[in-house]
């Protein structure tokens, strides 16, 4: 198995880069969307709230694989043809956005109402209260599910293999079918995913510890 790994190593390294790129980009964009949606949903803007709720419902309620296939293979029939990697990032970001909006919303709702009342009574505006008081506390509450979502996203990037993106899973399929050594190839790739997520989990634990420091 070691020589198979050595043989596939250059392709695997390149694919790992693609996987990490997809994960980080989709997470950044998705979290931004998620935060915006969470703020909308906890605000009083009625009309936009309905749009936000529908968006979350659609992307939480449909399988990610279907979302990816729809964007890459379905949209061209409406005249919108998007390249594989942008399609993947789009699908992953929208999906992450929906989940993150729920995480952030839980964080925001978890902060004691008294905090906001106290902030307003001291004379802060909405945004000042958000930035200085509410948000830091909300972030601490939301961090575990946010971190978990990032790790899950790294695994979900493997679904993008069905729209011809050469990431880790695709390389496993290709080298496996060329050499007929599927078991070893898939194990190698599973191990790489696991190591990647183990590092991320360590990072999350460190971050949680940092935020848990009393202030």
């Amino acid at each position: 198995m070691w020589e198979l790994f050595q043989r596939a190593a250059p392709t695997l390294v390149e694919a790992l880069g693609v996987t990490v790129f997809l994960g980080v980009t989709a997470f950044t964009i998705g979290s931004t969307i998620g935060l915006a949606v969470a703020l909308i949903r906890t605000s009083k803007l009625r009309l936009i709230k309905y749009v936000a709720v529908s968006y979350v419902s659609i992307f939480l309620g449909t399988p990610m694989l279907v979302q990816i296939l729809l964007i890459y293979f379905g949209l061209p029939q409406l005249g919108i043809a998007i390249d594989p990697i942008p399609s993947g990032i789009l699908a992953l970001s929208l999906n992450v956005g929906a989940y993150q909006s729920e995480n952030f919303r839980a964080g925001l709702l978890g902060v004691d109402v008294g905090q906001r009342e106290a902030a307003y009574s001291v004379g802060m505006s909405y945004w000042q209260a958000m930035r200085r008081i509410i948000f830091p506390q909300a972030l601490r509450i939301a961090l575990p599910p946010i971190g978990t979502r990032f790790i899950a996203l790294m695994k979900d990037t493997s679904l993008v293999s069905v729209i011809t993106v050469t990431e880790l899973t695709r390389v496993a399929e290709r080298v496996g079918s060329a050499t007929f050594r599927y078991l070893e190839m898939y194990l190698i790739v599973a191990a790489i995913y696991w190591i990647l997520n183990f590092v991320l989990a360590l990072g999350q634990a460190t971050l949680e510890r940092r935020l848990a420091r009393p202030y």
């Binding site: 198995m1 293979f73 061209p76 043809a81 390249d83 594989p84 069905v162 011809t164 050469t166 695709r170 399929e173 290709r174 496996g176 079918s177 060329a178 007929f180 050594r181 599927y182 078991l183 070893e184 194990l187 191990a191 696991w194 183990f198 989990a201 360590l202 634990a205 949680e208 510890r209 848990a212 009393p214 202030y215």
Partner: protein
Amino acid sequence: MTSHSRPHRRSAGWIPALFVLAVISSACQSGQGASASAGSSADGGGDELLSRVRAAGVLRVANPQTSPPYSFRDEANEVMGFDVDFANEVGERIDIDIEFIQGTFDTFIPGLDTDRWDVVIAGQAITDERKEQVDFSHPYRVSMVTIFLNCEDTAEVHDLPDLEGRSIAVLAGSSDVARAESVPDAELKTYENATLALTDLDLGRVDSYIGSRFVGTYVAEKSGLNVCATDAALTLEQNAMSFSKGQAAFKAEMDRLVVEMIDDGTIAELSTRWFGPDEDVSDDLREIIGE
């Protein structure tokens, strides 16, 4: 009042690490063992497959069902095609029912190994790599592999090296993957079936396709895709039935049927029906089989 939490420590991560290592190393032993034993499963003298199929009264045939005119589904969702008719002929001649199971080119051979099906009749090409994993019957069809381009693409492409620097679409697990990989500086894109690959060629998301001239032209016509076959004649592939190694009795029976069907004109009739009036390749087949 300050809060003080003690988050879960990850220092016990070595436990799953050890477990993963144990699984991987045991898989390596069995990985080497499995590929060796798949070849030596002929302990019974090579007739288990044939006797089992006869006893069950049914032959499980794998095909893609997405490669017209070899195998596809019509509007009534019935499986149709050259391979389908051919398989049904085989079943009739040895008095056995045929059950079609859908697979893809990269699952056909694993499916034989894991006993999901008995034989693959899918316009599958005989290649040396495949011969190491499975046995083939005599070929029942030859098909030309060519290069497809978007019809708006006016480049002079007549052979594989002309594809240098392009992105090349192929079917995952097909014999064309190796061909595409041999082109210097080319980007390889694999697809689950010909329609998806050629649709991307039509949309411009990939700029060439290597595959069966017949299937490509047929799909392009049916789906109204703006893709055109070049005159490149990459290889004349031999399509044959594949099945697990070491099954001498089954192979002998299948070979006999192929020769019978060539001689009595069945192959000619099926070829003409599915591929067109000039597509009777019986003479080519006779030459290959060496009658």
